[in-house]
Amino acid sequence: MAEASNRGDQRVVAWGDLVFALAVILAAAVVWFGTADLPPPRYEPVGSAALPRAIASLMSLLSIFIAVRAVRAGGQARGGEQTGGLLRIAALAGLLVIFVAVMDARIVGFRPAAAAFLFVSCAILGGLSLSRLAGYTVFSAILSLGLHAVFTRLFYIDLP
């Protein structure tokens, strides 16, 4: 049984490796594309494009090794592993993006945005119940107001 699960785990790693190798090759291609219009070296022997291209080439070469090894080992998708945790991560990541986006777009200032972010993130992580809500509310209010005061008055950093 344990052996079977180990084999499964190895396959998962191989599948991840394949995706990783392809992503790295894609990144290397982007670098080649991005450096295509850079002028050739004129005042010194190396030029601006040489190092990024050299690194991208080396990276692609190494990724091919990883990809070949991954294909040989076989690949299988990770099935139903830590679904709750992954959902929680997705929710938290979404919340974080919304939090930063609303401040970046100047829709809401730091204090209300931070208070809302803290409250919702606590709810995502700790779950919702009436007894906990009071704690979340107090924590969110104190931390958002306190941090705003500390950063703006003590460190002279303008928060949005």
């Binding site: 790693v13 991840g16 490796d17 995706v19 990783f20 790295v24 990144a27 670098v31 991005g34 450096t35 850079l38 002028p39 004129r42 005042y43 010194e44 022997p45 190396v46 601006s48 494009a49 190092l51 990024p52 690194i55 991208a56 080396l58 990276m59 190494l62 990724s63 090794f65 990883i66 830590q82 709750g84 945790g85 929680r88 991560i89 938290l92 990541a93 974080l96 993006v97 939090f99 930063v100 401040m103 970046d104 931070a114 972010f117 803290l118 993130s121 606590c122 992580l125 700790g126 924590f139 931390l143 958002s144 941090l147 950063f151 460190f155 002279y156 950093i157 303008d158 928060l159 949005p160």
Partner: protein, 496 residues
Amino acid sequence: MIDAFLALLSPWPLFYLTLGTALGIVIGAIPGLTASMLIALTLPLTFSMEPTHAMTLLIGEYVGGISGGLIAATLLRMPGTPASIMTTFDGFPMAQKGRGERALGLGIAASFFGGVVSWAFLALLSPPLARLALSFGPWEYFTLVLMALVMLASLSQGSMIKGLIAACLGMLFAMPGIDPSIGQLRLTFGINDLAGGLNLLPVLIGTFAVSQIIKDVLSISTPLPRVDVQRKGVVIGRRDVTKHFSNLCRSSVIGTWIGILPGIGGNIAAMVAYATARQVSREPQKFGTGHEPGVVAAETANNASIGGALIPLITMGIPGSVTEAILIGALIIHNLQPGPLLFATNPEIAYGVIASYLAANILMLFMMLAAVSYIARVMYLPRTYLISAILLFCVIGTFALNNRFFDVWVMLGFGVIGFCLERVKVPLGPFVIGFVLAPIAEEQFRAGMMASAGDVMAIFTRPFATAFLIVSLATLAWPFIAERRRARTSRPQETS
């Protein structure tokens, strides 16, 4: 050096050192939160501080963070920091046998001993090494950086190829912006905010703090068992020091030496010291069952590795581990150039780091002996609140760097990258250190090429550069040689 110690005794530096050490111990004691995460998050708060105060605070956090990790490792079998992994092997069984206080006492004393011995190495070796490094030209620096990256990639845990790819990826992310040699814009893809390149801080906070938080979310619902600690049994006597003296000395030297080597952190130092202690022991079978020398070896070596890692940092500006990369970031943020010139241009910083390291160890000893029973309770702080607060800190800290949201988006992007890299078992150390060292490597390589009129073979006219190159090649080749030797030795056994 004496001036540096005297400066530490003035109120503000002492306050920052105490604060840093205390914060480090507390954060180190909480499983999942690491010293590097704390240092990365505190970095933005140091903008308005004097550079010496900032470095004092960060060094305190580093020492405290590594030392605090032993509490959770001993009581919960959950290493507070990766450096404490080996402490779980004997610390936890001791705690289960009702000797938790004794394990903690030995661990605290061993951490202090390791710290003091590695401080002696740091204080004695750094000034002459910095003088030697002053004679280095561009080829020496380029090959030194190359050697550091190769060693880091091959010695960090996991596959060497993945380590090398991680280093390359980190280097690539340092390329966008203005080419430092000729002022040419490159790889900005029309994004104006990229003209200045990617800032170190968002990359660090994203890669380490955010990705670590994402990882912690996965284990948030795991309840921690309650363990009470009495202060009484924690203090150990002179007889214990005498009993473990040879182990303490040996593990300190191992820890310091491994700390000096790039890329091998406190966890490997602890592993090697533990394995050595077991090898030379008359009772090797007792290791892993709650044997005192196991705790002593692991804790001595992981703390000693800090002093060792600080040596290449202040003498050559080469980070030995992720935490040192963040410390280099701290120096750069304060307009200080890490490297051999630091001793000449800013001796108060170079000697300040050395003095702070010893003082932080002394403070750590007293704080942990006096308050270990209270610190142990910190482990049970509700993670819901902690994680939410840390995420908010990540956003504010990154925004505070330049008062722009571009950095915050970069930080979030690197959080995702860091998490994905960890999921496919790609080490993050080479990635971040590649990012830090790429500009140095490029600058030195191009300066070398200009000086030698485009002849790369000029490397071989410089003895140090040749030696660094040979070490790099040997490090790359060693895993393959070792594999072949293993295969050759196993073949006759199979046939027989």
